[in-house]
Symmetry: C3
Subunit: 289 residues, 3 copies
């Protein structure tokens, strides 16, 4: 409660009351691509302003233009592999130049900067503390109307890396945009319907079904706790296996991938192309009959 | 005059008489792409030779093969966002292996290394001091005939980052190649004709018309100082607005972009594709009738 | 012999008996692409675990999916330009999740981490010392079955950068996979048949013929030690010249490239496209008649 009150009262630079200890790392996730100098320029601002920056690490800059949901999923998958104290900067921002806020959010020792458009939905838990960045506090008014990544995100991230208290960046936010993430639909009898959410560079199809969901399915099958599972996607059935090498070359398979999601692949092949399946396609996970 | 004489007299390692204080940052801009190891190898040389390097920052490596003008524009747009003391390495070099010189140029506290092919045209002001790099002074003869980025640019940049005086890299240059940058043509009555110089990753069309030019147009319209402006490009008219969000979805618009250039965009769309316009296309900026 | 015995006896953390002195640099070479967060996540693990890391340098992430031979060639070309003490991490790994080993190999002061699939063939000389990484020694069991780059390679690399002795990563290996690299075929009379092994971003065709082979050809021509050479590839003959600028615009040429390989190019053009030649095509190097 005390923290919340202080957050609301907007005390400037209270001594790290919110418990963020920067570790010198910044991640960058944008839809800027790498053909232009946008990303390099953000790094120029970061390195020019920060004295304690150790590395500015690209997560990806290939998010499809303004695809906030895909950005959110990538950020959520990457975050567990960075140490506490990392500042994550995510700029996929269809509303740049409008009145949408920029959020600074603290969750589990990680600090996130992103537009208030739902991008942070999967990374913010119940205990997250969130502020609206006030560029004026950083002497950043009026910023360019089209490149807040350079003019607001990067300088604020540099300040946070160098020890600026998150609670001093602006007023505490009590509400923020939340993306409606499509949830799996239980179908009963150990079956569930999900959706392909991403296609990776290898053509692997990543669904919104996860390890916990699979455990629940097994629970529904009390009489057959050792049941094998399969997924149906497009026109094919793919057995749920442990690893790519468990399938024959060219054969479809499903597995729990390295981020904990059910993924459909083709051994040594491009599943998206070979199965004719793309993002948004339905997928059903079920026991092998 | 003293500086010039000393530059010509080629005194080795005079004590920073030219006023370059390296900050540990290097930028890299090439047409090498990132599929091969060219860029990584340059970084290997930089990090292997320099003890004071803090970061080697990619501006872009996606310049179309040997497109010197586009490289020049990208470098000019990026430079203001880096601190003084940065060493900018730009290698777009159709003449590699010929007798063209490699220039080291100091302007406004920034150090530039580039082939003498006009690449530095927009970043060098009247006060720039320029030297021709003599690889022999760095023990770099004879370098590979096809990869000067690795064999000359990177080792010289590493030396400059570590405190080598720019005036010691070679003889002072009094002349260097200058690109004929296409200038806007005034048409009178508050009208000007320009050109699309770049298309960015979002399909936005960046012209050679800038904020100063717009101010001059307003000056021509003494009777209508509050005139609204529009641009004509391809088959459409686009109103000059403040920000993307001022246009309806799918509507064309023009604005002063984050680097100070007049840019034509389509709200939430790809202007180059939707308007059928590409680099080199004419654009007219004029008051709304 | 002593080293070998100690390697086999698996003494944990013997004091740098194998002579690897880390310099704080890591290189990364994968087929992960940069659209997903795979590479960023590996860097998160590296920077999160290492205290002495200076830079994690991308060689390339654009290796065609699971093209081990191409990865091997890129790694071999890049390695000479990094200082001794570099840890090179190469993950092109069709067998991920199977029982293939992960190798740590020391050669010439460089440390390599790669799957045991032949990737290290061109970088390991006769004096190389090789170990099989035992993830359990790093508390890394059981790792994810699909992302060893993140779960084994990156943490082991971080440990090596921070001073972990290579001989402590696992048992000494006496055998490992070796790629059958296609060798040039001598044809007699100063002629040799080779193969195009890579096409670079400019469309240049890089062959498996090297400077040493060219010297041998000259040796076969005792009566004509100053003979000019040409290559035949596709439908054309290209003269062997010193540098791109020695050919007319649009003309084909061959040269010894910056890595010491015979390369076919078209001056200011894309040789692969213009000559209709791709990887695997035969090439003959011969004296000009």
């Amino acid at each position: 409660v005390k923290d919340e009150l202080e957050g609301r009262s907007d005390a400037p630079r209270a001594a790290q009351i919110v418990g963020f200890e920067p570790c010198g790392l910044v991640t960058l996730l944008t839809d800027f691509g790498t053909s232009d100098t946008f990303v390099g320029v953000m790094k120029g601002v970061l390195w020019g302003r920060s004295r304690r920056l150790r590395a500015a690490i690209d997560l990806t800059h290939a998010i499809a233009a303004q695809d906030v949901e895909d950005a959110a999923l990538h950020l959520a998958e990457a975050r567990p592999w960075f140490p506490a104290g990392t500042v994550h900067v995510a700029v996929v921002d269809p509303g740049v130049g409008s009145s949408r806020a920029i959020l600074a959010a603290l969750d589990g020792g990680h600090l996130f900067l992103a537009p208030d458009n739902g991008l942070l939905t999967p990374v913010l838990g119940a205990g997250a503390r969130v502020w609206r960045v006030d560029p004026a506090r950083f002497g950043l008014t009026p910023p360019s109307r089209t490149f807040h990544g350079r003019d607001v995100f990067a300088p604020v991230a540099a300040a946070l890396v160098d020890g600026c208290d998150p609670s001093s960046v602006g007023l505490r936010a009590e509400k923020w945009q939340v993306l409606p993430m499509t949830a799996p639909q239980p179908l009963g009898a150990g079956r569930v319907r999900g959706q392909i959410r991403r296609v990776d560079r290898f053509g692997n199809l990543i669904s919104n079904l996860d390890a916990d969901g699979l455990e629940r399915l097994r629970g529904e099958l009390a009489k057959a706790p050792r049941a094998q599972f399969q997924v149906r996607v497009g026109e094919v059935y793919a057995p749920l296996v442990d690893t790519y090498a468990d399938a024959a070359k060219g054969a479809p398979l499903a597995l729990l991938n390295s981020s904990g999601w059910v993924e459909v692949a083709v051994r040594d092949g491009d599943a998206a192309r070979l199965l004719g399946v793309s993002r948004g396609a339905p997928i059903v996970l079920e026991p092998v009959p």
